[in-house]
């Protein structure tokens, strides 16, 4: 299918869609109108279960089984990405160069790191009370960890990020969700029914199983995103394909990883404001080599 033909197919389809969609829009109830039968029922059900955040209640109580499905999609997507991005036999690992980071940026990142983690945990823990929950908090927590990559370089991140733990964490999150569901069955109710005492509205212990499921999702999402980003970082920073940089064996001479510029952009304007100096490094191998080896093992499972 030629480019031109494809464009024509799109234009015809888009025109048809645009007309039908516009007609449909004018047939919809006006924006902001008041009739929401499901919303009203969801709010009532949520307040019956003493869950202040109705969205969390919909996700983890009314539609908890549906969320299990969503969680499984997430699990499968992470698994798929991990399989696709694993290190193949013809690829080798090199130690990434240490990065030059301005001390001010480093201090800022190191100070924000625990704060961001705390905010992530806060968002997870208060999912049933205030806006937030496992999905959002999990991503914030995972991002917090990557402040270390910003503060220094990939090797620093790897030092505090035992990947196996996060891989287990992801599975544990998924498992905890299912186990909570079966606990309800053992308690003589339906799968994922809310069987715990509901507590008082707007406290941390309110909402029965909602905070537990929230925590499970938080664990899963945080670990999943960490694993995902780890695989992408491995690929972009450490793993080399055959034919990539074959002219140099010494990791320190490899200049290619810095090739992140778009083509044809003016280079002069983006000169770094050189204040950072190359590190008085003891060489990437000194601390990198041994860690590199045991890391390799868990990549090859």
């Amino acid at each position: 299918m030629s480019f031109r033909f494809r464009l024509w197919v799109f234009l015809v389809g888009a025109a048809g869609f645009a007309v039908l969609f516009a007609v449909a829009c004018f047939g919809l109830p006006a924006f902001g109108s008041g009739h929401h039968p499901y919303g009203v029922r969801a709010v009532r059900a949520s307040l019956n279960h003493h869950t202040a955040n109705v969205i969390a209640s919909v996700n983890f109580d009314l539609r908890a089984f549906d969320t299990l499905g969503e969680e499984t999609i997430l699990f499968a997507a992470v698994l798929g990405a991990v399989v696709l991005l694993r290190q193949t036999q013809d690829e080798r690992r090199k130690t990434p160069e240490p990065a030059v980071v301005h001390p001010r940026v480093r201090r800022f990142a190191l100070l924000t790191l625990p704060l961001a983690l705390l905010v992530g945990l806060y968002v997870i823990a208060h999912g049933q009370i205030s806006p937030g929950g496992g999905f959002q908090g999990g991503v914030v927590t995972a991002t917090a960890l990557h402040l270390l990559y910003v503060a220094s370089d990939y090797r620093a991140l790897e030092r505090v990020r035992p990947l196996t733990v996060y891989e287990i964490g992801e599975a544990a999150g998924e498992a905890a969700y299912v186990v909570t569901g079966f606990a309800a069955v053992l308690a003589g109710s339906a799968f994922l029914a809310n069987v715990l005492p509901f507590g008082t509205l707007a406290t941390l212990s309110s909402g029965g199983t909602v905070p537990l499921l929230n925590a499970a999702i938080g664990l899963e999402v945080a670990s999943g995103v960490v694993v995902l980003l780890a695989r992408f970082l491995d690929q972009a920073v450490e793993i080399e394909e055959p034919g990539e940089d074959e002219e140099s064996g010494d990791p320190r001479e490899i200049e290619k990883p810095r090739e992140s510029q778009g083509p044809g952009k003016p280079r002069e304007s983006e000169e770094p404001r050189g204040c950072g100096r190359p590190k008085e490094s003891e060489g990437p191998e000194a601390s990198g080599a041994s860690r590199d080896d045991d890391n390799r093992d868990d990549k090859r499972e």
Partner: protein, 54 residues
């Protein structure tokens, strides 16, 4: 000793921040906050050491 002190300072500061973030204070809230702050404090130290190790 220095390690304990570092984590302790972080822990106290972060627990304080947690108490700022929450809307109502009750014992469970404080407990969860203390645990979360401890985790963050340990990460703060681990992160600083990981960066300093190079």
């Amino acid at each position: 000793m220095a390690a304990v002190l570092e984590v302790l300072v972080w822990w106290i500061a972060l627990t304080g921040i947690w108490l700022v973030l929450i809307s109502t204070v009750d014992p469970l809230e404080v407990l969860v906050g203390a645990v979360a702050a401890l985790a963050a404090a340990l990460l703060a130290r681990a992160g600083r050491r990981a960066v300093a190790a190079q």
